[in-house]
Symmetry: C2
Subunit: 220 residues, 2 copies
C-alpha cells in the first residue's frame, strides 16, 4: 500500500525547497569565490559520522578546516570534534530543535563571523536521518553518505533517495564487519544498484583503515 504526502504539505515543501535551492546556489558561489572546498556527511543516527570526522580531523595536516555539526539537541558532537581538532579547526554546533535536517539558511547563518576565505575545507555533519536531508542542498561540493556495517546491507534499497543524492559513500565500522555478519559485497552491490558507479570507501574510524583514500576524495 502506497501513500503520497498530503497535497497542502507538498505545496509548502515545494516553496521551502525552492527557497533552499536559491540559498544553496548562493552559498556554492560564495564557497567557490573564497576557494573553500565543502563536504557534507549524511547517515542514520549512530552510523559513525562524528567518529569519522574526528578521525579525518586528525589527518588534515596543514589543511585549514572548519566544521559545522547539526543536531536536534546537545552540543556533544561539537565538543567531541573541537577536542579532536586540538585547536586546528573551528567547530560550530547548529541546533535544529525539532527539525530533522539541516537547511541552507542554517549554513548561511552559522558562517557569520568566520573568514571563510581563510579556509581550505569546510565539513558539515548533518542530523542523523536517512530521509529528509536528501532534499536540502547545502551548497556543498561533495556529499558523502555513510552506511555502517551494523545497519544491514539493504539500507541503500530502502532509503534510495539519500544514496542517490550523494556523490560518494563510506562504509563505516569496518572493524565490526565480521562480528555483525555484514556481507560487504552485497552492501556494495546494493549501493551500486541505487547509484551506479558511485565511489565507495570502506573505512574504520577506530583502526584508521581506508581513511586516506576517503580523505583524498573529500578534500578534492
Amino acid at each position: 500500500m502506497s501513500f503520497p504526502a498530503a497535497p497542502r504539505l507538498i505545496e509548502v515543501r515545494r516553496h521551502l525547497l525552492k527557497d533552499n535551492d536559491l540559498r544553496a546556489r548562493a552559498l556554492r558561489q560564495r564557497f567557490r569565490a573564497a576557494g573553500v572546498r565543502v563536504a557534507s556527511f549524511v547517515a542514520s543516527p549512530g552510523a559513525g559520522k562524528t567518529a569519522l570526522l574526528e578521525a579525518l580531523l586528525g589527518r588534515l595536516g596543514g589543511c585549514r578546516a572548519a566544521v559545522l555539526v547539526g543536531d536536534l539537541a546537545t552540543d556533544n558532537d561539537a565538543q567531541r570534534l573541537a577536542r579532536a581538532a586540538c585547536g586546528r579547526a573551528r567547530v560550530r554546533q547548529i541546533s535544529t530543535g525539532t527539525l530533522c535536517h539541516l537547511e541552507a539558511r542554517m549554513i548561511e547563518a552559522s558562517l557569520e563571523g568566520w573568514p571563510i576565505e581563510q579556509l581550505d575545507l569546510l565539513l558539515i555533519e548533518n542530523v542523523g536521518n536517512l530521509v529528509c536531508p536528501s532534499s536540502f542542498d547545502l551548497g556543498e561540493d561533495v556529499r558523502c553518505v555513510l552506511a555502517s556495517v551494523t545497519e544491514g546491507e539493504d539500507k541503500p534499497l530502502k532509503y534510495p533517495t539519500i544514496f542517490n543524492s550523494a556523490d560518494i559513500a563510506a562504509i563505516t565500522k569496518l572493524d565490526l564487519a565480521a562480528a555483525a555478519g555484514c556481507d560487504l559485497p552485497l552492501l556494495r552491490a546494493n549501493i551500486d544498484a541505487v547509484r551506479p558507479g558511485m565511489p565507495v570507501f570502506e573505512v574504520s574510524s577506530r583502526t584508521g583503515d581506508g581513511l586516506g583514500p576517503l580523505l583524498a576524495a573529500i578534500a578534492g
Copy 2:
C-alpha cells in the same frame, strides 16, 4: 546556534498533527473495542526493528498477531516478516514514498479488509527515523523505542523527543555490545535522564537473550 522551523511550515504541521490526533484517537477506540493490543516500534534505520519483530513473531505461541511495516521503498521487511511468521501472522507493507514516518491515516487504510476483532496483537514497525515518528500518534497502546549498542550511548540525549514519546525502550544487538565497546550503564543512564523510570529491556534478536520480558511488556 538554534533554528526554529519556518512559521508557515509550523502552521501546516499543526494542521496535519491535529488531523492525525483525531484519527489516532478513533483508531485507539476501535482497537479497544475489538480487543486487540497494539504496539509500535521506532528506531534509527538499521537498529534492528525487523530482526526484533522476526524474533518476537517466533515466540508468540497461540497469540493471533498481525504486522504493519512502513518503509519508503521496497517490501523487503514485509517479506522477511512473512517468512518469520510462517503463516501464523498477517503481514502488510506500507510504502510511504518520500515520507519519513507513518501516520494514523496509513494505519487506517492498511487495516482495510482485516477482521481486527480476530486479532490479539497488532505490531507496527515505523520507518527508520529518530525524529518525525515521535510526532505522530498511531493509536498504539505501547510505543517501543529501540537503541542498538552500535549506535553510541548518547542517542537518547541527542534525539530526546522520540525517547520521550515512547513507553518502553529496547537496547538491541546485545551480542555486539563488547565488540562495539558499548557502555551499557551509560546508555541506560542516558535513557533514564530523558525519560525517568521508563522500562528498559536489553535484548539480542540473534541469541534470543531478553526477548521474553520484552514480549511480556509488549503483549501486555
